[in-house]
């Protein structure tokens, strides 16, 4: 029995990760096997009773004994079925829990970068629906493989004893089943992949529609969206039906094989019965067993189609978990070329100030695009430096930040943090050392307090009050119905973008770290808050390193250095250098 299955590397890793669930898998399978095997004596007794009672072949007491034995077998099978269900559920729970926690952990370690936000809907689908769909595969389809081998084999042995010609027929017809399974399985696999993709699109689509409903409504497109929802649903139905047509066709083929097989056995048995070569008991037993012979094979077919989604999902999960975020990074170049943008003053700076962050000839290209966003970028950040990052919209500033926090990995070049290349080993330590304020900070659906504490859950309450006061959160929180306990975010009080920004700033202040990476921190803040925020930065201890993506030159003026991102290159400008000052003026427009 060949099961058409190709294990990818990711799949193999998952199987390895799930080693702990083996005992449950064994228990599920074993009790299934026992239940299936006990079916044989049960049928034997039935046949014996049906044929024995009318012909008085068996004595009355013998009949009674057989009846009781039969009752006992039935009970044992009931108990086995109980164990199958019970162990199967425990198996499924363990697998799902394990997968979900590995995936969440992976997600956090990778840190979905700003630019990946577009795929939030898909990720939700993976983390919930995909993992749920693994259950039927693990729990039913996999044990069924074992059942489909053991039980027909056992039945075959018995039939060879009762009527070897029938045994031969069963054996021959059974060979057709894998053949059909492989044939139709190939077609089904392609269709399922399509259906699976359609299902993911459906989920992602709903996420988008619900997220963007206000926009759609403002453009009077929300009612027209109803038709789009209907259309997407219809497309999903068609894709699903396409798959099912093939899946059911293979069940149909199996059923035909088993029907024809049973009919051949029946006719042969009938003829041999007529000619007196076979006893009635054996004839009946053979026919009843023929049905049971095909049953596990048939359910293997239907289980496999039913769990095809789960198989694809498992593969997908494996592929995700198998990619480590830092895998292809840090190709450290040995030829330490002199940084072309490093001026002499840089070098002196490097002498007295330890570089906390250094990038060497880093190139980054988004997958499936040709043009790199950042080309041969080299830069260095010394401890305590205040640096502005400027550049026109779409120049790659946020991409640079995503690289620096390890959410994206460069194709060539390396990032050194505290002198060591950034790699999987030190990424979490590095992240613990940075505070990052993105363009769209997320407000969790939790209380204000929990939202602020998100950056440091162990923070003391009075510390939280202090940063809330500093960040200007306090002034609006005391107006909220339950103060700091008010639930905000999705499904709670909605906040203005300025209030969201203040909470994000409070979060950032709460976390002690040596470097701040701020992506336009003063966007959405009113003038007074902006002014206050600048004061915060200016009054920072000299040990605090700050990188700010800034659109307004007023932010840039008091900085030690400016990184200009343009056409994929990053140029370093020294603020104190007169010549560079003029270059900087080109950005002054409109500030």
């Amino acid at each position: 029995m060949i099961i058409h299955m190709q294990y990818s590397q990711g799949m193999r890793k998952i199987v390895k990760d799930l080693r702990g669930t083996w005992p449950w898998f064994l228990l599920t399978t074993l009790s299934g096997v026992v239940e299936g095997l006990f079916m044989i004596p049960q049928i034997y007794l039935f046949a014996k009773l049906i044929t024995g009672i009318p012909t008085h072949m068996e004595s009355s007491s013998m009949v009674m004994r057989m009846l009781w034995l039969l009752g006992f077998l039935i009970l044992v099978r009931g108990i086995c079925r109980y164990v199958v269900q019970w162990a199967g559920t425990h198996l499924a729970i363990r697998v799902k829990t394990k997968l979900r926690s590995s995936l969440s952990l992976h997600l956090l370690q990778q840190g979905l970068s700003e630019v990946n936000q577009q795929q939030v809907g898909e990720w939700i689908h993976t983390a919930y629906t995909d993992i749920e769909s693994v259950e039927p595969f693990i729990r039913f389809a996999l044990p069924q493989i074992v059942l489909a081998i053991v039980i027909p084999a056992a039945v075959l042995i018995v039939v060879f004893f009762t009527d070897w010609i029938s045994g031969l027929i069963l054996f021959t017809t059974a060979q057709l089943i894998p053949f059909f399974m492989i044939l139709l399985g190939r077609v089904a696999r392609q269709k399922t992949q399509k259906q699976w993709a359609a299902m993911r699109r459906l989920g992602a689509h709903f996420y988008e529609v619900i997220e963007g409903l206000t926009t759609l409504k403002l453009f009077n497109r929300s009612q027209a969206q109803r038709d789009v929802v209907a259309k997407v649903g219809e497309r999903y139905r068609k894709a699903t039906m396409d798959t099912l047509k093939v899946a059911f066709l293979s069940s149909f083929a199996m059923e035909l094989i088993s029907t024809i097989g049973t009919a051949m056995v029946a006719v042969g048995v009938g003829l041999r019965l007529l000619s007196g070569h076979l006893s009635f008991t054996h004839a009946l037993l053979t026919i009843m067993l023929a049905g049971e012979f095909y049953l596990p094979l048939r359910s293997l077919g239907s289980q496999f189609h039913a769990s095809m989604e789960g198989r694809l999902a498992l593969q997908h999960l494996g592929d995700i978990l198998n990619t480590s975020p830092m895998q292809s990074s840090s190709i450290v170049s040995d030829n330490r070329v002199q940084d072309p943008v490093m001026s002499a003053s840089d070098l002196t700076l490097l002498k007295d100030r330890r570089p906390i962050l250094r990038v060497e000839q880093m190139t980054f290209t988004y997958p499936e695009t040709q043009e790199p966003v950042l080309k041969d970028v080299s830069l260095s950040v010394a401890a305590g430096e205040h640096i502005a990052v400027v550049g026109s919209s779409g120049a790659g500033k946020s991409t640079l930040f995503s690289l620096l926090i390890g959410a994206l990995r460069p194709q060539t070049g390396a990032i050194y943090v505290h002198g060591e290349p950034l790699c999987e080993g030190n990424i979490s330590a590095w992240r613990r050392d940075i505070s990052y304020l993105g363009q769209r900070p997320h407000i969790f659906s939790a209380s204000v307090l929990e939202n602020i504490r998100m950056s440091r859950p162990s923070a003391e309450l009075d510390e939280v009050w202090r940063v809330a006061e500093q960040a200007g959160v306090h002034s609006f929180v005391h107006l909220l119905p339950q103060g700091y306990e008010t639930k905000i975010g999705s499904g709670g009080m909605s906040l203005s973008s300025g209030q969201v920004q203040r909470i994000a700033v409070a979060r950032m202040l709460l976390k002690p770290c040596s470097i701040w990476l701020l992506d336009e921190p003063t966007a959405h803040l009113d003038v007074e808050s902006e002014r206050w925020f600048r004061e915060v930065i200016h009054r920072l201890p000299s040990s605090q390193t700050v990188l700010i993506i800034a659109h307004r030159l007023s932010t840039v003026e008091r900085m030690d250095k400016v990184f200009v991102v343009r056409n994929g290159r990053v140029t370093t400008i020294e603020s104190r250098n007169q010549g560079d000052q003029r270059q900087l003026d080109t950005f002054q427009v409109g500030g």
């Binding site: 139905r237 499936e368 499904g491 003038v527 002014r531």
Partner: protein, 577 residues
């Protein structure tokens, strides 16, 4: 359940067909087994000629083939019908959600809605595939096998079979449903809570991954939810497993009981070996129809909970009901002269957001609203566009109260550009065409020019057909914002509401786009919400909003000499830049 039935709408024909085919398939199976039994038993009696067996042999073949064919057709049709109904329910759910947006957002999170529209509807698949038709089929099949056994065996044997069938098909399902209904409910709630947590995790991954514990605490909370869900599932399986085991025992036990009951009749030669075989095999086949029913009803509580969750949103009142089909109110206003008279407003939470707001906006008037964060500036936009209705005071267009105009009519006059406008995973052209589905390429190019998008789009190999989010075409924050601006310009509405639209752009681009926007909005009504006073010097009216009230209004030249809050803000800004 009864409320869920209207979802069956136009699918009755297909449902009946699927019941018919389902019964035919089961009947074929019963026929197959009965006649196979007859064939064997008859052969065992060594009849004088094999010709006597011809009819049974042909029937066995016929039933065998028809069983497979009927089952294939039945499964196709029942699945097709189910997916049609589910698609219909999804659309209905969306239609219920749409008019309640955004007020319903205060109660349910995005994750919650998403959970309902995907997972609850997915659960309902079970109702249509397994709860509705199989019991009907099972009932018919039970009748057939009872008839066969009563005729071939005896009435008593028929009754024994009927008892077995009733136990598996009626009593076990009832016990199953009754014993699990509470857990099913908790399970659904737990699932929903975990799903929402996952949504929060994915949306907030970036912030969490930067936390000093790397988000471990959040993961811990997720694990607790998962563990709670696991507990419910474990409690469920104890009952499920008992029901399953009982099913196995009752099915075989019925055959056992029938044999035991047949014994005396056989001994008195009232029942021959041929008929006994027929009876035994028929009874085995007749259980096929009832076998799946108990497990279906164990999950029924979950289905009921899901139906309830889908209906729940109906109880949330529509905050901005459209006036009942008064055709006059569907007419577009002529002048789009908008007034807010003494408007006070609070969201569902009850905190007063606006009080006593009066403003007047007519074509050609450009107005700015400035003020502190959280002053209620964006709420004014919600009220003007009828996403919410005022509680006190009136908002009128051409002296018609907004509440007597359909929401769509009101919104056709406005276009809003705010700081974070979602961009959809569709082509750039489709994203723009949300504003105007009929727009041709020339129009798209024109608005792209206004929003300074051309230099980004033109070099793309697919141009406007580039799909956002695919193949690395991930727009930056600034690019997204410019798409949103181009989209708004395309709508070409008479009233433009700008809610800090240029925040995400660098100074140079922002300045250029602002110039373009001013050029196209000269004769339109404009409200510009901003923090940067420098950009609003030429506005016809400036309103300073603080904690929901207008504390100052006038033109720039007056206000900077009034030594009020505006002057203070102006000085701050001058000081900074």
């Amino acid at each position: 359940m009864e409320t869920g039935l209207h979802w069956l709408n136009r699918q009755w024909g297909r449902m009946v067909l699927s019941v018919g085919l389902g019964f035919s398939s089961i009947a074929s199976n019963i026929g197959l087994m009965a006649i196979a039994g007859y064939l064997i038993a008859k052969a065992a009696t060594h009849p004088s000629t094999i010709l006597l067996l011809w009819v049974p042999i042909v029937s066995v073949r016929f039933f065998g083939l028809s069983r497979a064919a009927f089952r294939y057709a039945e499964r196709l049709i029942s699945h097709d019908v189910t997916f049609r109904i589910l698609s219909h329910i999804r659309t209905r759910f969306y239609s219920m959600l749409e008019p309640r947006w955004p007020s319903a957002f205060a109660k349910w999170s995005i994750g919650d809605f998403l959970d309902r529209i995907t997972n609850d509807i997915e659960v309902l698949q079970n109702v249509f595939l397994r709860v509705l038709t199989p019991p009907i089929v099972a009932f018919m099949a039970a009748g057939l096998s009872f008839a066969i056994i009563s005729v071939t065996g005896s009435f008593l044997l028929g009754c024994v079979l009927l008892v077995g069938l009733t136990m598996v098909g009626v009593i076990l399902p009832m016990v199953g449903h009754w014993s699990t209904r509470r857990i099913d409910q908790s399970y659904t709630d737990g699932r929903s809570r975990m799903y929402q947590k996952i949504c929060d995790l994915v949306s907030g991954t970036q912030d969490l991954s930067m936390a000093d514990d790397g988000g471990r605490q959040f993961l811990g909370a997720l694990d607790i939810l998962q563990e709670r869900l696991n507990t419910y599932q474990r409690q469920l399986v104890l009952r499920q497993a008992v029901i399953e085991a009982c099913t196995v025992v009752i099915v075989s036990g019925t055959a056992w009981a029938m044999l035991a009951c047949a014994m005396p009749r056989v001994e008195h030669h009232l029942l021959g070996s041929v008929m006994l075989t027929v009876v035994a095999l028929t009874s085995m086949a007749s259980f096929e129809a009832v076998l799946p029913i108990p497990m279906t009803f164990v999950a029924l509580g979950e289905n009921v909970a899901s139906v309830r969750r889908l209906q729940e949103i109906k109880n949330w009142p529509v905050q901005t009901p459209d006036p009942s089909c008064d055709h006059d109110r569907r007419r577009l206003p002529d002048h789009w002269h908008v007034r807010m008279n003494d408007v006070s407003f609070s969201y569902t939470s009850g905190n007063p957001i606006l009080s006593g707001i009066t403003l007047d906006l007519y074509p050609g008037k450009h107005m700015a609203i400035v003020g502190h964060n959280g002053g209620g500036k964006s709420t004014i936009i919600h009220l003007l566009t009828r996403l919410w209705d005022t509680q006190e005071g009136t908002v009128t267009i051409d002296d018609i109260d907004l509440r007597s105009l359909a929401g769509e009519v009101v919104r056709s006059g406005f276009v809003v550009i705010s700081a974070h406008t979602p961009i959809f995973n569709a082509s750039i052209a489709d994203n723009l065409r949300i504003a105007k589905p009929t727009a041709d390429l020339e129009e798209l190019q024109k608005v792209a020019e206004v929003a300074q998008l051309s230099s980004w789009i033109d070099p793309l190999p697919e141009g406007f057909d580039t799909v956002i989010g695919e193949f690395g075409h991930v727009p930056s924050g600034g690019q997204r914002q410019r798409i949103a601006i181009a989209r708004a310009v395309l709508a070409n509405a008479p009233i433009l509401l700008f809610d800090e639209p240029l925040e995400a752009l660098d100074a140079q681009t922002a300045l250029e786009i602002k110039g373009n926007l001013e050029a196209i909005s000269r004769h339109k009504s404009v409200i510009w919400i901003t923090h940067h006073l420098k950009s609003i010097g030429t506005m016809d009216e400036i309103i300073v909003l603080s904690q929901g009230s207008i504390i100052e209004r006038g033109i720039h030249q007056e206000l900077i000499h009034q030594s009020g809050p505006y002057q203070k803000m102006w000085d701050y800004e001058m000081d900074m830049f």
